[in-house]
Symmetry: C2
Subunit: 244 residues, 2 copies
């Protein structure tokens, strides 16, 4: 499993993803699921991946190769003129990879599937955030739905729904995301630290700050340990139910 979130704030984009992959609970590994591409002054692109690791790695490798091998560079996510075109390119690549594996004789229901969150900004347009489905289609975040989750989305969703605010600072977003991830990690063994975090400042067209929270990171531990008490205190402040 995986848990990853992409958010569109007024001041830019924020991404967080876990790094645990598993093929059964007795076979877990750590893999990066957050990928950044930057052309300083022109574009910033981030991709978060969930689902079959072979599929997501193949998709990212194909996107990467296209950025490197001159003969095969076009179309490239570093050349596409809009974020919409980048999303189309990523979605088509993802769909092709799934089709390739799915038709190779092996039949496993949705086993090769993957879902991705794509965010970024290209000069001339605003920052945009997309959710890309394994079928090769995608939707875009809006003011009504300003964040996307992929993977194990349910445990960490209520706090995002309640506390998300597009006016948030990056620091506040980190706190909110760590609570959401901590709730998920506590409930699903297949989601685990370290957690990767990346910020993008609107109109900066530069690589944002990228950080990794290890399981024993002091701030992550403070949030995880403090959240139980904070919740109990929040509950205690709501009016009591009168049993009689």
């Amino acid at each position: 499993m995986t848990y990853a979130v992409g958010m569109r704030l007024n001041r830019g984009l924020v991404f967080m993803s876990d790094t645990r992959t598993n093929a059964g609970v007795d076979n877990i590994s750590t893999f990066n699921k957050m990928f950044n591409w930057t052309i300083e002054g022109e574009r910033f692109i981030t991709l978060l991946t969930a689902g079959n690791l072979a599929t997501t790695q193949a998709t990212v490798s194909l996107l990467e190769e296209r950025t490197k091998a001159p003969a095969d560079r076009s179309p490239s996510i570093l050349e596409a003129e809009t974020m919409f075109q980048v999303a189309q390119l990523v979605a088509d690549t993802l769909k092709d990879v799934i089709e390739q594996h799915g038709c190779a004789g092996q039949q496993a229901d949705s086993a090769f599937h993957a879902t991705m969150i794509l965010g970024g900004q290209i000069k001339g347009g605003p920052s945009r955030l997309f959710l890309i489905y394994p079928e090769g289609n995608f939707i875009e975040a809006s003011e009504d739905t300003p964040f996307f989750q992929i993977g194990e989305t349910k445990y960490g969703r209520p706090i995002l729904v309640r506390a998300f605010d597009p006016e948030m600072s990056f620091a506040e977003t980190v706190k909110l995301l760590l609570v959401s991830f901590d709730s998920t990690i506590k409930a699903n063994l297949s989601v685990g630290a370290p957690l990767d975090l990346s910020f993008y400042d609107e109109d900066s067209f530069a690589a944002g700050k990228r950080t990794r929270f290890e399981a024993d990171d002091a701030y992550f531990r403070t949030i995880s340990d403090g959240w139980g008490d904070a919740l109990k205190s929040a509950l205690s402040k709501l009016p009591a139910y009168k049993t009689e």
Copy 2:
């Protein structure tokens, strides 16, 4: 879908369940999913059901009939000598109903399945709480795992994991459960009010208080409306992340 929770507190048992059933989002109904049986001074039994409505209704009807038709009264959940025997009876009945439907020519993966929470107390023993699987086996709550959820369990779980305390009063439990149910209702259309609530006082061997919260119940609305602000305030009290 369904969302239902059974909890074992030091002072007794608490149960809450939603009442929405659906066969597609365009076909929803309200059905009771909480069933109580009492013999004053001797036993109290509660059953919460999730899953295929035909299966759960058939199971409850069979259990009910056995309490009524003299010739077919033994074994009966009103005669079983221990809560363990009641659990076996419920589990066997559930398994039989599923097998019957499953072998009747129709094949639909797990479509006839149902899961149940059974709690109660019979004179001579303590109150006990069981989770009953469609396969006809079951597990019992313990100090380490003092509550069970069935149906759409994920959205409402983090708050239970963090804030549950076996020392809680019934009033505090209602508040906690309403928050957990509200998070679930906000995220899954197939879980909906009214919500049924029932208390059992340890060693009372009497029908506990049973209440229904309609969607517009004043206390439920207060909790639902207040929880967003309470969460934001709880978050704001955790130490800030230093971005630089």
